[in-house]
Symmetry: C2
Subunit: 165 residues, 2 copies
């Protein structure tokens, strides 16, 4: 990497306001954004471009209603790997990355455990996925599933309160 990955010191309150605004609505016009943060259009636009170039903003994504598109089941799955280090685990990571049903996967400990977030149309489809796909992946010892019974909070907007708060 060319620069420090954890240097957020060069963000002023306008940068922070832009990040907050674009996190809640990425499709507002630059004019609208400028007005909301209290700057005129040109410098606002320059700052947005700068935030993109520096890698603070990594992309813009539409958020979909998972139930409307037929994904009734969201599950948190802990996958225990047989061996926790080496090429076997790397291979397992690569396999997991390929699965569209897995929307997130984190390596969470030294004991070879992954935490996955899995989407499926219904319980039946999830069942088939875990038996036919997950449990057949190389180096998988076993899995523990917890289903989401309700979303108390979602939408994953990152807190910015620690910046100049």
């Amino acid at each position: 990497m060319t620069s420090d990955a954890t240097s957020s010191g060069d963000l002023d309150r306008y940068h922070i306001a832009i990040l907050a605004e674009l996190q809640s609505d990425a499709r507002q016009s630059n004019a609208e954004l400028a007005q909301r943060i209290g700057l005129s259009a040109a410098p606002t636009w320059r700052r947005v471009k700068w935030l993109e170039e520096q890698g603070y903003i990594t992309g813009y994504r539409a958020e979909l209603d998972r139930r409307k598109i037929g994904l009734g089941v969201l599950a948190f799955v802990r996958v225990d790997a047989e061996r926790s280090a080496g090429s076997a685990t790397k291979a397992l990571e690569d396999e997991i990355r390929q699965l569209p049903e897995v929307i997130a996967c984190h390596y969470i400990s030294g004991t070879g455990t992954f935490e996955l977030q899995v989407m499926a149309t219904d319980l039946d489809a999830f069942s088939r996925f875990s038996i036919n796909t997950l449990l057949k992946l190389p180096n998988v010892k076993d899995i523990h599933t917890s289903f989401s019974l309700g979303e108390v909070k979602a939408g994953g907007a990152l807190p910015l309160t620690h910046l100049q708060g």
Copy 2:
């Protein structure tokens, strides 16, 4: 609710293509989007508006690099509630919803357990947060924390493969 929440039957391949495109880049111009899905600009625009109005698209969000903005720690926290039903749990939900450090929270079982995703600047800040805030919430029995040691897959794009795939 006014209409069926799980009816994705009125989506044709253009709708699906639009959802896929906007999930990967929500800021592309309508002209670009139209060209990619193989339709001209006006009908593409109407379809996008329709998807927004029907609630398939719930919003557009900028994705930020959590490390660049100083959030070095991501943790998965299981919160066990004292009593699993009634107003005490509802109150706990409301408290959790208020915390900016908690970016996601799901109710995951009948035993009064929540799965949280928590962001913090560093281990020290996380430690303070769990001791001073999480453990002091009403109706919390105990918590189990797993730290993310690496993101194998992230970015939470929903699979659309089950639609007319």
